[in-house]
Amino acid sequence: MKTKSLIYYALISSIFLFSLVSIWKILVTLQGIELKNFNFAIIIALGIAISLLNTLIGDKLNYIIKSTFFALIFTFIDGYIVQLMPVWYNIGIFGILIFFSLKINKYNQKYLATEHSSQIVVFDFLTLFGIVLFSFVILFPFYMMLITSFKTQAALLINPLDFSINFNQDFKELFKSYFVIFDTYKFGRYILISTFVSVGTVIVTLVFAIPAAYAVARLNFFGKNFLSTSILIIYMFPAIVLVIPLYTVFSQLGLRNSVGGLLIVYTATTLPVAIYMLQGYFRSIPKELEEAAIMDKLNWFGIIIKIILPLSIPAISSVALYVFMIAWNEFLFSLMFLDNPNSFTLSRAIQYLSGDAETPRQYLMAGSVVVTIPVLLIFVYFEKYLVSGLTAGSVKG
């Protein structure tokens, strides 16, 4: 056994334990339990002790017995001696300790004696640490969004740290913010408009992009290379430099405040990437199929409908989902073009709500949940398609 490895192992594992316990403490605090201290010194000392004991005991004890033993000691010290905590807090700590003990079980004396063991230990724990930390940092705002939408203004002001939800109250009371945004602020209408614009953008984009992508992928014409390079360059141009001219022209043509105007702009901004993604896929379809079709006297329309489309369902789904997401989340153009509440999209409506300082924050968060849930659901359900769309279209964003 190398001393260096042992020291590294004891330190990094106790820091990992500290981070796990601290995240649990934060979550517990948010349930209204009073906890003023992370007890850094005590937790780290306990962690080092447990890690060292674990290596000392090694395989002399069954690992289940060993883990339970460690967990009980830690829970007793943290939950009864240092501070008196409710049972459910201690159950959580007990679970964390069982998890931790099982993780450190493999670091016995033999393991720590191998070459590079100090590095491997550090990497192992950094990985675990990273997983826990990143999940927490990413999920916390979403968690907060959801919880806030179920609270009342008064409760939020009295104790901003109280994230507990009273499930015993009436269904109508619990979902009050949602009822309010749908009744008073007409969110039902905004959902319809957002859906219409997004789905419309998907359809129009595909109708324009599929023939163009087919031509770029298969046909020879003057200016083809120029076109395919300019597609990417055009895609790099940001919305913010288009805003002023489009605003003036749309104002003069009376296209502002119209959902149709928005649809045109969304289609144009997503077209380049849609063409780029589709033509890449079309190139991978064997040419022989089309040659056979030409023998059968099919024209280009027939070729696209009967051969290309059925074969490229995956690519088309990727493009469709990607475009849907872009259109659903889009904010800048809806801010510029819509100022009549009758034609707001969801994003614009939420921004409009927040413009009024009087709007209670739980309504704002309820609106945010309403606009976020559909994209996240679609994303989780169609992740495979969307990820390929994101990778191809990711120059944008």
């Binding site: 605090t29 948010l30 906890l35 003023k36 992370f38 070459e115 590079h116 491997i120 990273g130 990143f134 999940s135 990413i138 705002p141 979403f142 969004m145 901003p160 740290l161 324009f208 992009a209 031509a215 046909l219 020879n220 014409f221 076109l227 360059i233 055009i234 790099m236 940001p238 913010i240 430099v241 288009l242 002023i244 001219p245 489009l246 003036t248 022209v249 003069q252 045109i264 702009v265 144009a268 063409i275 997401m325 659903w328 989340n329 904010f331 994003s347 939420i350 927040s354 704002l364 945010s368 606009v371 976020t372 996240l376 994303f379 990820v387 994101l390 990778t391 990711s394 120059v395 964003g397």
Partner: protein
């Protein structure tokens, strides 16, 4: 024969690409050129409304004379700035009605009144009257008369179409607009946002490239900030970071990490005492950069993960046989494999972060030292209502962008030559 075939092919190709090219041209390329045009003009937000001749029609009965009706048209020029030339007026009359004592500018032809009012100056107003009389003795129908709306047409200069140009906007952009402050803020934001998202992308990709329980779930979760709507996420962060009722400040105070709440989005500088030196940290800008990293590292993660999964396992196995530790493996195998992806990512993210508008706009609105060039476009154009200035700032952005792209494609081309 083949000649005609290739001709048909060409024609088909043009038909297929034309709709897409037309749309992209009119919505993306045209505005970019239009920016150049507008940026050399003095145009305010209110000037872009086209002047219109308008008329409000009022029908009145005449007390002593039930056979007659008086119609008053309240005429005006909608614009306060521009004149309208050759105003033409047209209104229809019900069949049994004839006008009497018609104004000399007007004439009647088959139940319609045509008038030519000539030129109207800006703010022009006139009350124009016509007396009407029943031609067959029947009662006059006031309602029917009211429902018919007059039509007016006129020619006016569109302020956007005349050829008066000025360099004023560009002078203002460079000399009266804290231009270098804007530029440096934009570069800070872009550079640190890009670097941060790539660093976290590498870390997370390295994580997810290993096997552990819940790995696919983790991969989805990591992408949440990127796929979520920016409006929802920005407002959630705003509530989270609020100095008084925000969760973060209350947590930090509760656990005694800080004594006073930090106004993370509203405070320009935070002075930190660092070994006796006072360091000034741009607090709001840093917060906005952290949000930016939080939202866009998933993209770097996705790219780098895809690359990592393509690295042959044999490389790592061979390194292990040679006795390399995890750190050496990362430096000698992983890093060289992902440098190409990282350089592409850097350029792409740099360009996009440079143009980022929504995130800062929603979080701080450009206040407390977070004003970047894109925010300035919006401010100039819509808060100060100076369309010309907004366009001029846009032009600066486009010019810088073209330089970045030039560098980018040079580098890509160089890389392609090397391989």
């Amino acid at each position: 024969m083949s000649d005609t075939l290739s001709k048909i092919e060409k024609r088909t190709a043009y038909i297929l690409i034309l709709p897409a090219v037309f749309l992209v041209f009119s919505i993306i390329l045209f505005p970019i050129f239009a920016n150049v045009w507008i940026s050399f003009k003095e145009v305010g937000l209110k000037d872009i409304r086209i002047p219109e001749p308008r008329a409000k029609k009022i029908v009145k009965s005449i007390k002593d004379n039930p056979d007659q009706l008086k119609v008053i048209y309240k005429l005006r020029n909608s614009s306060l700035i521009l004149e309208i030339r050759d105003v033409k007026f047209q209104d229809k009359l019900p069949k049994n009605i004839k006008p009497i004592n018609l104004d000399e500018r007007c004439r009647v032809k088959s139940n319609k009144i045509y008038c030519e009012f000539g030129n109207w100056d800006a703010k022009y107003r006139e009350n124009f009257q016509i007396l009407l009389k029943s031609s067959d003795g029947k009662q006059l129908n006031k309602k029917e008369l009211k429902t018919i709306k007059p039509k007016l047409t006129g020619k006016s200069d569109n302020i956007l179409l005349n050829t008066n140009f000025t360099l004023k906007n560009f002078k203002k952009v460079f000399f009266q607009n804290d231009f270098f402050d804007l530029l440096s803020t934009t570069f800070y934001y872009t550079f640190f946002g890009t670097i941060g998202s790539i660093v976290f992308g590498i870390l997370t990709a390295q994580l997810v490239n290993q096997k552990f329980f819940g790995r696919t779930f983790m991969r989805s979760v990591l992408l949440f900030p990127y796929v979520g709507p920016v409006v929802a996420l920005a407002y959630t962060w705003e509530l989270l970071l609020d100095p008084y009722s925000g969760t973060l400040n209350n947590l930090l105070i509760n656990f005694q990490v800080i004594q006073e709440p930090l106004n993370l989005l509203g405070q320009k500088y935070l002075t930190i005492n660092f070994f006796g030196f006072d360091l000034k940290l741009r607090l709001a800008l840093t917060t906005v950069i952290i949000f930016e990293i939080w939202r866009y590292f998933p993209l770097a993660f996705l790219f780098i993960l895809a690359r990592l999964q393509a690295v042959p396992k044999e490389l790592y196995e061979a390194a292990e046989v040679d006795g390399a530790g995890p750190l050496q493996k990362f430096i000698n195998i992983t890093l060289p494999q992902i440098t190409a992806v990282i350089s592409i990512l850097f350029m792409i993210r740099f360009i996009w972060n440079f143009n980022k508008f929504e995130d800062i706009f929603l979080l701080t609105g450009g206040a407390s030292g977070t004003r970047t060039l894109p925010i300035n476009v919006y401010e100039q154009g819509f808060t100060i209502s100076d369309i010309g200035m907004g366009s001029a700032v846009s032009i600066v952005i486009v010019a810088l962008l073209l330089i970045f792209m030039f560098v980018y494609f040079k580098l890509i081309g160089k890389r392609a030559d090397e391989n």
